[in-house]
Subunit: 709 residues, 2 copies
Amino acid sequence: MKTDFEKFFKPKSIAIVGASPNEKSIGGRTISHLLKYKYSGDIYPVNPKYDQIKGIQAYPDIKSIPNTVDLAIIIVAAKGIPRVIDQCLEKKVPFAIIFSSGFAEAGTEGEYLQSYLKNITKNGDIRILGPNCQGMFNIVDEVAATFSGALELPSIIPGPVGFVSQSGALGFSTFNQLEEEGIGFNYVVSTGNEADLEVTDFLIEFATHDQTEVLVSYVEGFKKPERLFDLAEICLREEKPLLIFKVGNSELGAKAASSHTAALAGSSDLYDSLFKQIGITKVSDIEEVADLCKILTRTKRPPGNRVGIITTSGGAGVILADHCAINSIDVPPLAEPTKQILQQYLPDFGSDLNPVDLTAQVAGSEELFNESVNAVANDPNIDILIVALTMVTGPRAGDMAKFLIKKSKEMDKPLVVVWMAGDQLAKPGFEVLKSEKLTFFKSPKRCIETLRKFIDIHSNFKRRKEIYQFISERRECLITTKSIENNLNEYEAKRWLNQQGLPVTKEKIARFPEEAVKYATEIGFPVALKVVSNKIPHKTDVGGVALNLCSPEEVENAYLSIKNNIKQNTGLEIDNIIVQEMVLDGIEVFVGCHVDPQLGPSLTFGLGGIFVEVLKDTKTVLPPISQNTAKTLIQELNGSKVLTGVRGQQSIDLDLLAEFISRFSRICASLKQEIQIDLNPVVITKSGIKIVDALVIVEEEEKNFIRSV
Amino acid sequence: MKTDFEKFFKPKSIAIVGASPNEKSIGGRTISHLLKYKYSGDIYPVNPKYDQIKGIQAYPDIKSIPNTVDLAIIIVAAKGIPRVIDQCLEKKVPFAIIFSSGFAEAGTEGEYLQSYLKNITKNGDIRILGPNCQGMFNIVDEVAATFSGALELPSIIPGPVGFVSQSGALGFSTFNQLEEEGIGFNYVVSTGNEADLEVTDFLIEFATHDQTEVLVSYVEGFKKPERLFDLAEICLREEKPLLIFKVGNSELGAKAASSHTAALAGSSDLYDSLFKQIGITKVSDIEEVADLCKILTRTKRPPGNRVGIITTSGGAGVILADHCAINSIDVPPLAEPTKQILQQYLPDFGSDLNPVDLTAQVAGSEELFNESVNAVANDPNIDILIVALTMVTGPRAGDMAKFLIKKSKEMDKPLVVVWMAGDQLAKPGFEVLKSEKLTFFKSPKRCIETLRKFIDIHSNFKRRKEIYQFISERRECLITTKSIENNLNEYEAKRWLNQQGLPVTKEKIARFPEEAVKYATEIGFPVALKVVSNKIPHKTDVGGVALNLCSPEEVENAYLSIKNNIKQNTGLEIDNIIVQEMVLDGIEVFVGCHVDPQLGPSLTFGLGGIFVEVLKDTKTVLPPISQNTAKTLIQELNGSKVLTGVRGQQSIDLDLLAEFISRFSRICASLKQEIQIDLNPVVITKSGIKIVDALVIVEEEEKNFIRSV
């Protein structure tokens, strides 16, 4: 499953097919970068026009190179690529990077060329990065196999971030911006069209490297989304945060994405659900990536989400408190002993609330500032300390920064700083914080938004067992596949669901009025009558439903009237009519399953009626889900109060509903066809839960998603 | 109404009471700032301990100063302030700035001192800024009447932003950060506790200054919120965007705010509604202020909200398209002639969609880049052009930037740049853009969020007549106040509402069963019977309601049964029972009015039942609102589809509902008491709209908000 990337990331020799002495060309820049970053292996420029390039002996083609080649970088025009790859195979080159464009992103001929690359890599004799990519940069081992302009920086800081991007331009421009902000990388890889190697291959590789602490990826679409489960497991096990900049969320974005790297952008909402379920952090802006990389690599783990705020400006405190509220971060009152200490230092105009406003005057005194910070840092009610400064400048800024550095080292809890001042005036402070790598922000909003995700990431590590459980259950369900041959009407669907262990209404099919009366008497009044036919999907519209029938006469009349309505409205002669128990005084719930062509089975549920039809107040997840998860999701519905009691009504049994959803989710997770199941409504009453109506629609084709699991 | 600030902003002489030679003291720093920024008037240090300070003759007290004093800056301890103010009055000093703290923010004694200041300023002999403030800085005329450390910058850029902040620390730290980002100010004022002068006084002043193009304010609470109407009118008339950083939105934030400047933080949601209604832009972070100040002072007006995106990286295009979708910004297909031009320049792998992906290769060619930008800039489908660049570096970066500057000057439409690269590598480009003040962003997200607000601000200017109309109608309503003496029960409330011109159900009060039958026959069956008594607020809970009575017998029985229920459940002997027409087959709507102690009458409406009780799917606005506004708001309800037709049902008459709400809003706007009116439900049917139940609850006390209008 896992690729051996040794010769890719640390090649002993590199051939550059399409090398050039021209600095402005891609071939020229690539050699320069290898040299500039002190590549220690052998370089073999390949170009029949030159004997040597930049003082290095050149060869007319790959096979003329006298020694083994670990990595071939290929820059020739798209249509010449197959010939080069053939030579690589002959020469037993294990890895190639293709910079050239003109493949799946460029019409039919390009698609053909790309499928050639895909096929030729299948048996693993050669593995290909690209085409249409900007290569890779192994910063730790100084292998700069890329032409990106981002390498023109005078110096590169190595560091703990591993980055894989489908977009080369965006990948290296992000790398450049973050480097200039002091965030170090160990690898940057641009995967381009992904004829063979794809983002998850590299993320899985990085997750097991000791030197990679944070994984970041820019993705327009996953070719094999099921590998995200493997990836998530490894990241949780290794406690490596994984940030995915997943784009193509809007219809237009998806269109632009598919025109860009020819990747399927996939169902954005479902990816959001999946990421949440398996502990992947979705990001949507480069500043968010920068902020998270900083805090994740520089700041201690938060034991919880209770924040203590100390500030030199009441205003800054108010802004931070507002943003904490928006982001559901707790700002609790301080413990009594902390208040007592603060009261010693704070004059009467300071507030002893959290946020603690030291005021600019007090902050001027070193002892008062330091002791106040100490007191809040030690408060048992506080998990995270924020120190928010405004116009602290000059030498005092440097002293404060040094104290905060010392404090953050001796504390068990995270300390972050918000410093609302410009670079010039606060320089003595900023320089200390930067050189000692303390996480600080100039924007209160970004600080709190970053803290929110920081807390979530660490709480994912804590709930890892739950995630492992989900992943292993999903895998298990997918192995024991269930299949359904044809569309099922209400009666058939409910029989099938009942066989799977789900509760349905009591019902029988009557073929004439007397039989309907007989069954109604057996089932018990009141009953409902519903026409049953695969030719009539919308029963109500054609007068095919009669509810609340309380006597044999009403049943007989209803039978005849339905038969008559159907004849009149559709011309069909129908005899089969379901006689069904009425489920009274219950709450209606919608539960459905849809099999996504990319991500496989998904489960959607919500309250019935207007909640699903008008308000779209539903939750979608990848099944299976446990009863606990189901219960949490139910409680997150906007309309959940309807279930837990409105206007003095009693709460329904949430556990019963959660158990039903969990049970249905296991059935969904085993479906391999592109199928749609609607249970609408499921009704919960005081005495239980039952599927009252159901529909199963089956698409014929089996989908790819299942093959590779 | 408008204060004459001539002697405040351009004082010919300034006395500093509490002046000091000590650079570390507030008094010392203040003199230094005046000198550093070349104050051209006379400076009179006041301090009995010194004969002269920094070479300037000092005086023992204000009255010893031989000449007139336009402005007194006061730094003495709080309890000494009254004496100094008395001397100022004697000396006829028209303005004072009080830096000292120890007032309303600091307990009972401080509150007393502050109310002294408030009273003494009432007749206008002296106007006071502060106390507990950091003063003001008039950058245009070089009057630095502040001790803020932000003035330590080696040089200050003057510019078009006028800034007023209740928090001194936050105000000047924002000023500092923005200055360092190249945003120039003309005034910065810190108002502190606002014993007298408050933020709106200064905002109204700035709005009429030619040199102020953008108004920014940090506010924890408005002392006289009704002045926002005056302010909004002036800003719209002068086309000055007004950004208000209104904090204290969360409960905790409000608590922190009130502990901070002793200002009432007010009802946050209602402020949001008000700001929207009168065209004020709410901001919530310092970066948002910076981004908006840049675009508002540097970029041409957007004729609409249709964006064209040209990019050197498909990835950047996808991200921008995603953020446009989130922010409801249109990214339309390009016009046919534009596509034809692009096809000449773009090779087959470039997409001709919007976003237009030039790819990094193409962007290297000057002609192709320039002509593509020209083509999209000229496209009639496009109102705003975004050029998104990634790793364009070196001299090419400078050339591209120069071209974009030229282009932005010759275009009628706005051009903004997103440049995702670090400062070092893209320096030649960034320097050109900065020096020529072209708006550019490094973050795609911030670019699009800023554009959204930029578009909204300019569309507010376009709809200014509508806003004037709202303001003048609200003023008019507030003058013709309506009042209600006591709480009204259902019957009384509906009579009163009917007198105001609103439709209510047909109903009469019956005192015995035969009368109930008589009235029911007159009204027409079916009817409802409801107990009516001020002692029974919750009729249903005590068995006081009977619905859908179809015959004289049912009415008679219901009368007796209600009477009996009430007796049993409450012990009360009730004879008065309403006989009311049943409004059948309608949709229930909730309409209510609440009078906020700060902002006055507000109107809330939404769909009835679970929509209001569970989902809180309501809209709140300040009345009165026009029928058009009401209709727009109805359509913005999450559940609006229920009104416009669900499951094949017909739409209700939205105009009828909108007209009802608009009519009710005029009644609300005239209420001066702290009052609460619930119309719940109002029912709309095919044949009309009627108030079915209503309640009016009156608080006794009249509120301040009305006095100052």
